[in-house]
Structure formats: structure tokens, C-alpha cells
């Protein structure tokens, strides 16, 4: 058992208001540069929708992630969907799976100068749209959030790859005015345990830090093969067209190393994001990624370890995990949601990269139809809110849709989670002082939870203090430095020398 610590983020999708403050914070901090205009290391998508880049979940087209090959060779060998062995060499200089700028969008701005320099006329001038890359006039036809709030739904929402697995009636309901529904899905790099980007790089320029699991691109080693861009199934590595290097979300490690949450997390208006340490067993990764679809979630959760278990603590210490980090893992809100209460899931586990960022699936309003001018709920006439626990399909967001996103198609997992969340909501509405009515307590038990757990979930969801939401351990940089250099020498030399910015050919 090789225990390591991992910095993980959790998104509570019930709270996301789709304001994109996270995207702007990341953009202002990291990608406001030439060559990075089209990059959104953090982006927010409207779901159902096509996402950014367009239809990134279509791995038949983009060839991202890993493939599980049943009965291949001595064990079910995992293979990069992008290529393997000789196929990789053949594609090295011409990778047909590489997304092009059209899959993202052409960044635009406006020729504001025209407002001053237009020729004299009898009508006021206007600033026409131009490309940020070429400077030439262009028609604006795509963007990083083009289908926001179901804009263009006949095209973009309808072509959401997750809708392929929906029953026909359910799929049709998503286009009907009284039944239409949408949610927001913020995404960053998942800093996976089994990253396809790391595996795909021919130069070995991408690596995963052992101390916290952050996946980074070494821009000195990067040779612009862009296999990482194609191999990432979440399309969260981007190519900088100006420097000729690949870039990605760095989980704001300079902020984390100084005790601050990543910019996206810190700036989140809806306070949907949680940061915490998870302890995981690195030895289990080859096995956990290598099981049939139905077993993926169970194996993945087993890879995450109990930070209170003495055996785990001993193994962590033996492997160099600092006591502060073990303590942080014990207070980790991500651990509570993912493993203790089991209401959070990673995105698209079937890509087998073992994403380490988690989502709590959203509750949604009850389906309704308009009959004779009145709104009728798709429940019995005498609507008891308990009824929702028995009829989760009455919710507008199809269970199958959430299952396609978060549980490798396993509806039972989503039902269990939604039932627990409804039960918590019911309990908090109905509890009076110390005594709660038996029917409510029964509903709680049926949903697999207790009053104590419901209170705990409620508190961490709605009333967390900033330092309960972001539990960040001290990074002890001095000890990391110590492993490769005399700290006093480092201290004396820090700040001298020059950093070479990334550029082609370096």
C-alpha cells in the first residue's frame, strides 16, 4: 500500500449559478496572453449542451482516454484510445485526432478604432468584429460558451453526447418548453490518477507531482507533439499557438503552496467549490482502472483511503506524507462528500483516467405540463414531498442523463444519491426542535441516512466557514527543497538568475 496525498476539488452542482466568475478569474490570472486567448482552463458548460470544445465527450471522434480491452493478452490491457506502440509512431507527425481551432472557437474582439477613425458620414460608426489571432474581420460563429442557457438548443443541446443513452421519450422531453431543463457544469483539469496526457507525451514532458497529485507540463521539455491535447478525454490540455508549448490548469499551485485556494475556487460566487486532501493507494491504480465498466466506481472509491485508519496513517507516514497533510485529510470536506456520505462522483469514469475532481449531482424541479392553462405537476394530486423519494423520475433532469455523466450509466447510484439529498432537504424542512415526526424519520432511513448525517450534510453544504470549505495543509516547501539542495544555499541564491520564458525550439 503506497499511500499518497492528493489535492482534490469538489463541485456542488445544486449551487452553481452559471455566472462564470471562475472562468474569468482563471482567464485573468493565467491565460490572458498571446497564444492563450482561446484557452479556458476553467470553463462552465450548460447541460444538456455540446460543451467546449464542441462535443468533447465524443471519444469515437476525439480518441481521448483509455480503452478497456477485454481478454487482451495476459491481463485486460489498458490502451490509449489515441494510439499504441507503432500506431503512435505513425501518427507522430500527423495526428488526425487532434482538435483544431474550429472545435474550440476563433477568439474575437472588435475594431474599436473604427469608432474614432471612420470616414465622415451621416450615421454613427460601429466597431466590427475581428479575429484576435489574425486581426481580420470575421463573423462570430462560435465561442467557449456558445450554447449558454440552452441557446441554439436544436443544435447544441440536442447533440449532447450523453443524450444518446436516453430512452426516446425522455430524450424528446428535453426539447419541450414545459419540460426543458438545464444545469451548469464547471470543469477544470481533473488531475487524474491515471492521466492519459502523461502517458501519451512522446517527450515525457508531462508529469504528476507526488506531493499533491497536480499534473503539470514541463515547458522546457515540451516539443509541441500535442499528443496530450488529443489524449486527454476531457480536453483540458491546450496548445499555445504562440510559444509552441502545451499548457493546462495547474490547480493554482503557487496559490496552494501559500495556503490559498485556487483562483476559480476562491472567486466562486455560489460557493460551490470545496478543496481538500484525499489519501489514496497508488498501488491500486493499475487494477482500479482495469476493470469492466460496472466495477469502475467501486474500485475507484476503494482506492481512496480512510485517513483515520491507523494502518493508512502509518503507511502514509512511511511514504513521506506529512502529519499536517494527514490531519488535513481527516478534516477534508471532499473526503466527507465522496467517501463518508457518498454523494459525490467523478466525471466520466469510463475514460479510465481516474479523475480526482468530484461533483454532487443536482436536484431538479419536478416535471410539469400545462393543462387548460394550469400547471400540473407530474405527481399524484395530493402532492406530498415524500412522493419525490419514490418517484425520482418525476424530476426534470433525467436520471439516465446524470448516470451517463457521473456513474458510468449506473442509474441505481444516481437514485441513491438523489434520494439521500431529497431526504436531507425534507428532514431540514420538517424537523421541529428535538422531535421530528416518525414519517420523516422513516423517509430518512429509507434513503439510507440518519438525522445526524442529514444535519452534517446540511451544515457542510449550506453553512460552511471558508476554512471548512477549503481545508489546505501547509506545503512545507522547505522540506521539498531539502530533498535536492542545501536549503541555506537555496535561500542565498533564491531570486538570482533568469527564467527563460517558453518559446519554440527551446
Amino acid at each position: 500500500m503506497k499511500v499518497r496525498a492528493h489535492m482534490s476539488m469538489l463541485f456542488h452542482l445544486d449551487k452553481c449559478i452559471g455566472c462564470h466568475t471562475c472562468s474569468v478569474a482563471c482567464k485573468n490570472l493565467w491565460t490572458d496572453r498571446k497564444g492563450a486567448e482561446y484557452m479556458w482552463w476553467n470553463n462552465v458548460e450548460t447541460r444538456p449542451g455540446s460543451g467546449y470544445p464542441t462535443r468533447w465527450e465524443d471519444q469515437e471522434h476525439y480518441r481521448g482516454g483509455w480503452e478497456f480491452q477485454q481478454g487482451y493478452g495476459e491481463a485486460h490491457k489498458l490502451k490509449l484510445r489515441l494510439h499504441g506502440g507503432l500506431g503512435g509512431l505513425a501518427k507522430l507527425y500527423f495526428n488526425t485526432a487532434l482538435p483544431s481551432l474550429e472545435d474550440y472557437y476563433e477568439p474575437f474582439t472588435f475594431r474599436y478604432g473604427d469608432l474614432f477613425s471612420a470616414a465622415e458620414g451621416d450615421d454613427q460608426p460601429t466597431a466590427i468584429p475581428i479575429s484576435e489571432i489574425t486581426g481580420k474581420p470575421m463573423a462570430i460563429e462560435s465561442g467557449p460558451n456558445w450554447d449558454d442557457d440552452l441557446g441554439g438548443s436544436p443544435i447544441y443541446a440536442r447533440n449532447d453526447p450523453n443524450r444518446q443513452s436516453l430512452p426516446a421519450g425522455v430524450n424528446a422531453s428535453l426539447d419541450e418548453i414545459e419540460r426543458v431543463v438545464y444545469n451548469y457544469l464547471p470543469r477544470i483539469c481533473n488531475h487524474c490518477l491515471n492521466p492519459a496526457c502523461v502517458a501519451a507525451c512522446p517527450s515525457g514532458a508531462i508529469y504528476k507531482r507526488a506531493e499533491d497529485g497536480i499534473v503539470l507540463v514541463n515547458e522546457n521539455k515540451c516539443r509541441a507533439w500535442r499528443m496530450c491535447v488529443a489524449a486527454c478525454p476531457y480536453k483540458k490540455v491546450y496548445y499555445n499557438w504562440n510559444t509552441g508549448k502545451s499548457e493546462k490548469c495547474i490547480l493554482c499551485f503557487p496559490r496552494l503552496e501559500t495556503g490559498q485556494a485556487p483562483a476559480c475556487a476562491h472567486s466562486c460566487v455560489g460557493r460551490i467549490r470545496y478543496m481538500g486532501v484525499l489519501l489514496y493507494d497508488a498501488d491500486r491504480i493499475p487494477h482500479a482502472a482495469n476493470v469492466p465498466d460496472r466495477e469502475l466506481l467501486g474500485e475507484f472509491l476503494d482506492t481512496i483511503l480512510d485517513p483515520f485508519d491507523p494502518g493508512v496513517i502509518a503507511a502514509a507516514r512511511a511514504n513521506g506524507v506529512d502529519d499536517d497533510w494527514i490531519a488535513a485529510a481527516q478534516r477534508s470536506p471532499v473526503y466527507r462528500f465522496v467517501k463518508v456520505w457518498q454523494i459525490a462522483l467523478p466525471l466520466h469514469l469510463e475514460y479510465r483516467t481516474m479523475a480526482m475532481m468530484f461533483y454532487i449531482p443536482p436536484l431538479s424541479p419536478v416535471m410539469s405540463t400545462v393543462e387548460g392553462g394550469f400547471n400540473r405537476l407530474a405527481l399524484a394530486d395530493q402532492v406530498q414531498d415524500f412522493d419525490l423519494l419514490d418517484d425520482l423520475d418525476a424530476a426534470r433532469l433525467p436520471i439516465q442523463y446524470l448516470a451517463s455523466l457521473f456513474s458510468v450509466g449506473d442509474e441505481a447510484v444516481i437514485r441513491r444519491i438523489l434520494a439521500k439529498m431529497y431526504a436531507v432537504r425534507l428532514y431540514m424542512r420538517r424537523k421541529t426542535g428535538d422531535a421530528t415526526d416518525p414519517a420523516t424519520l422513516q423517509a430518512l432511513a429509507k434513503a439510507g441516512t440518519t438525522p445526524e448525517e442529514a444535519e452534517a450534510i446540511y451544515k457542510l453544504t449550506t453553512l460552511p466557514h471558508l476554512h471548512e470549505r477549503f481545508v489546505l495543509p501547509p506545503y512545507h516547501r522547505e522540506m521539498a527543497v531539502e530533498t535536492w539542495k542545501d536549503p541555506l544555499a537555496h535561500k542565498g541564491e533564491a531570486g538570482f538568475g533568469a527564467i527563460q520564458p517558453p518559446a519554440r525550439g527551446d
Partner: protein, 163 residues
Amino acid sequence: MLDELQHSQAEAQGRLMNYLTPHGKWSIHSTYSDNHRMMTLSRGDYPIWLNDKDAAELGIEDNDWVELFNDNGVFVQRCAVSARIPRGTVFVYHATERTISVPKSPLRGRRAGMNNSLTRVRLKPVLMAGGYAQFTYAFNYWGPTGVNRDTNVFVRKVEKVEF
């Protein structure tokens, strides 16, 4: 209500729809409506939202240029076609200014307006009392206005956009 359609009715063919201008998602009225981040994260400018079935009947596809007109003014912008808009309704989020990416109106020949060009204030005693808005000046004073934003417009597709 319909007296702002009398002239336009004779002018050109267009589908009569109810016009609403809800508060914008990416701005506070016109403040920040031209912010580059917000424009990139939406459609480059606040689009005209149309119901998908209405758009199909008018031969309008997502991101086509569309013209809204009535007796008060004219507005030309690209559209967002969506199943979430009720039939017979057109949304334009409030508010953008007339400086960025505003084409000429094919109908009336001059530069098109902004979303308030289609609305109008109907003066009434309630607007005259209290010393608000147009009757008040103070440093940084922001007062309420009496614009009636729930009105009716004609909708038609723009075949060729001209800036």
C-alpha cells in the same frame, strides 16, 4: 398598445411577437455589457432569443441576423434559437449600447438601435411626481425610468448584413 405597430404593419412583412427585455446575465444594464470577457463567454453581444418552432417557421437558424421593428425603432442582431423561449415571445436582454457590432437596418437604412429602441416611455402623472429620473440631477444619481418594456415587435430574418 397596438398603436406602435400601425406604421410598421404597412412597411414590411414580419411576424408579430411579444417583446421582453429581461435583465442581462452578463451586465448590469449597460455597465460591463461591452466587457470582453463577458462577450466572449456569451455570443459576442446580447442575442435575440427566439423559440425554436417560431424560428423554423420564419426560416431562421441559430446565429442568423434578425431584425426587430415597430414604430418606435429597429434592432438588428444575431439570434439564439432555443426551446426554452415560449412561442410568440422574443427576448432581448437589456442592455447594450449602439457602439459595437451594430449593423445598418435593412428596413430603414440607418444604423440600427439597441434594445430600448423598440420601447417607449408613456408619460403619465406617476412619472411626473416625486422628482425622479428626468426631473432630477445629482452627482452619480441613478433614477428609475418609465420605459414600458413589454411591447410588441415584428420579427424577420436579415438576408445580408451590412455594417
